[in-house]
């Protein structure tokens, strides 16, 4: 009796230890940690700028807006102007663009089985930039410029895929080649637009757009772009296990029961959609789609179930940080695309050096 009881207690202890080991192996819930970090970064970003606002005033302002707290009317109006009208669109734009670029970059890297691939690969950013430049030259409204950016981003992908198909199949290599050809085509088209653009008016606008900046964003535009972008990022986020299987190779993914053609098409279409929409909001912002997945992979491992959501959260934080620097580094604002490029290069070199063992081994 006592013998069986002690055996039972021992079994319980063994089980408890096994459960504990499982939890310990999984580590802390990094997605939640990153989500909390992102929230904090957003509050901080709302508080910094030319007009001084204390960090503590932001929760106060939120409570006052919900009529749960009182605030002097003059101060409330000033805060409403600065926070809601000026800074919030910009903060939300940074979050949307950063997460979309990082998660589409991670998704492209998995489906193309190539850690050096980014949303620029299929000519997405090139095509979208051409569309935007064309819209500016034609003197279209800002909404039409954005729509044209998106349409041309998709056009560049379609062109790349058609080129790949001309070579008989849609293997990884031919798709990459198709993307390079498509990128080259659209960048030369962009050059033509720049050449014919009115040098007093349209050309500076195009150049400024292409540098990438978040200053143009407004709440109405963000509200309707948020739906496809957040939807796309979430979809990519739940496809993590399929992306892991695809990263091992088409036949292996098939042998694991993954419908390779459908998943690959869905991932490429979604990643293209969200990354060309970033051009609509903010122009060309480079490097985030390439380096953020690498940084997250170094910290949290290669598994896409964790990488996809974490990269989206970290990408948002990264662009918020870059935009903070763009706003405050010097007296006049620098386009954030330049900041991400300047930050991206040293980070990429460090990551390349650190992860060399991981994926550059033969």
């Amino acid at each position: 009796m006592s013998c069986s009881l002690s055996a039972e207690i021992e079994m319980k202890q063994v089980r408890r230890r096994a459960l504990w080991r499982t939890i310990a192996a999984a580590g802390p819930p990094w997605e939640l940690v990153l989500a909390a970090g992102l929230l904090l970064a957003m509050v901080l970003a709302l508080s910094v700028g030319k007009y001084p606002i204390r960090v503590g005033e932001i929760p106060q302002f939120v409570l006052a807006s919900l009529r749960l707290d009182n605030m002097a009317a003059g101060r409330y109006a000033a805060l409403a102007n600065v926070i809601i009208d000026i800074r919030l669109p910009r903060v939300l734009a940074a979050v949307l663009v950063g997460s979309a670029l990082a998660s589409s970059g991670a998704a492209f890297q998995a489906v193309f089985r190539n850690p050096l691939v980014s949303p620029g690969l299929l000519g997405v950013l090139g095509g979208a930039s051409f569309g935007a430049a064309l819209g500016i030259v034609l003197g279209l409204s800002w909404y039409l410029v954005q729509a044209l950016a998106f349409v041309m981003g998709l056009g560049a992908v379609v062109f790349g895929v058609v080129v790949a198909r001309l070579f008989g199949n849609s293997s990884t290599l031919t798709l990459v080649l198709g993307g390079i050809v498509s990128g080259a085509l659209f960048s030369s088209l962009l050059s033509i637009i720049k050449y014919v653009a009115d040098p007093m008016n349209a050309l500076p606008n195009i150049v400024y757009w292409l540098m990438g900046n978040l200053a143009q964003s407004n709440l109405a535009q963000i509200a309707w772009l948020a739906i496809p972008m957040v939807g796309g990022v979430v979809l990519l986020g739940v496809l993590g296990r399929a992306l892991d299987a695809l990263a091992m190779g088409d036949d292996e993914a098939r042998s694991l029961g993954v419908p390779v053609g459908v998943i690959r098409f869905a991932v490429i279409a979604t990643a293209t959609l969200v990354s060309s929409l970033t051009v609509s909001i903010a122009g060309m912002i480079g490097w985030i789609g390439l380096i953020v997945p690498h940084v997250v992979r170094l910290g949290l491992g290669a598994s896409n179930t964790r990488l996809m959501p974490s990269a989206a959260l970290f990408g948002a934080m990264f662009l918020l940080g870059a935009d903070y620097l763009a706003r405050t580094l010097v007296d006049t604002e620098i386009p954030v695309g330049i900041v991400t490029e300047l930050l991206g290069i040293p980070i990429f070199l460090v990551v390349l050096n650190r992860s060399n063992r991981g994926w550059n081994e033969h």
Binding site: R241, D251, G301, S303, G358, E361
Partner: protein, 251 residues
């Protein structure tokens, strides 16, 4: 234990106008090791890919336990038949436990959450193959022999009883080849059916219950090793004279 079978029946397949398979018939059942021999470019890999349902034949059918593969979902097939690819490096540094864990994909589905059951299945497979100590190592940093075991582990984690392996000996040194053959024999003893392509008739002679040869798009020989690994067949297959296996001839 019931016998499971995977059978290709008079398969025709051509690629870019060139006939690769012309009426090929090959089967695999539980508790046997079938070795498929053939020259480079004979169509061995194509035949495997058709058996696994990756390619659709122009004519002929592949059946799993008598049911045509066209009526079997990919996910169901993955729980019955597993594929062990040639050694390769994935581009991302997955952990060994993550790679073996991918074998649970057919059971959980693409969007399913992994449960304690899956976790235990993965642990059990790693323990049975002796790779549990490698669980938290990067797959990309393992030796060829260790990576081959991880691939087997993923196949076993699928719960499949029929294993199709494409040149599993390639890239392994002599000692690992011998160990690997022992591993295959013990899997056969546990009831697994294994189809292996190889370039080396001596491997086939050592482990196969049946040896088949693919010549000019058809299975030319299909029988026990003693009947197939003979000078006449080797001459027809590779165009060389076979003297003996196991010891070097000196003259």
């Amino acid at each position: 234990m019931s016998t499971e079978t995977l059978a290709a029946d008079t398969i025709y397949f051509s690629r870019q106008g060139r006939a690769v398979l012309v009426g090929t018939t090959l089967s695999l059942a539980s508790q046997e090791i079938v070795c498929l021999l053939g020259r480079n470019g004979a169509g061995k890999t194509t035949l495997l890919r058709i058996l696994l349902g990756f390619l659709r034949p122009d004519h002929g059918t592949v059946r799993l336990d008598g049911r045509s593969l066209s009526g079997v979902s990919r996910r169901m097939l993955a729980q019955r038949v597993a594929y062990v690819p040639q050694l390769h490096q994935p581009p991302f540094p997955y952990l060994v436990r993550e790679v073996v864990g991918m074998g649970r994909l057919p059971s959980t589905g693409l969007f399913g959450q992994t449960s304690r059951v899956d976790h235990n299945a993965v642990e059990a497979v790693m323990v049975s193959l002796g790779i549990a100590p490698l669980a938290d190592r990067h797959y990309t940093q393992l030796s060829a022999g260790e990576r081959q075991l991880v691939m087997i582990g993923r196949a076993l984690a699928q719960g499949a009883r029929l294993l199709v392996m494409d040149e599993p000996f390639t890239g392994l040194d002599y000692g690992h080849q011998m160990e690997f053959m022992d591993r295959l024999r013990s899997l056969k003893g546990q009831g697994y059916g294994i189809l292996v392509t190889t370039h080396q008739p001596d491997h086939a002679a050592m482990i196969a219950t049946r040896v088949t040869t693919l010549v000019a798009g058809q299975i030319a020989d299909d029988g026990p090793p003693a009947d197939v690994i003979v000078p006449a067949v080797i001459r027809r297959l590779y165009g060389v004279e076979m003297h003996s296996f196991g010891c070097a001839q000196s003259s």
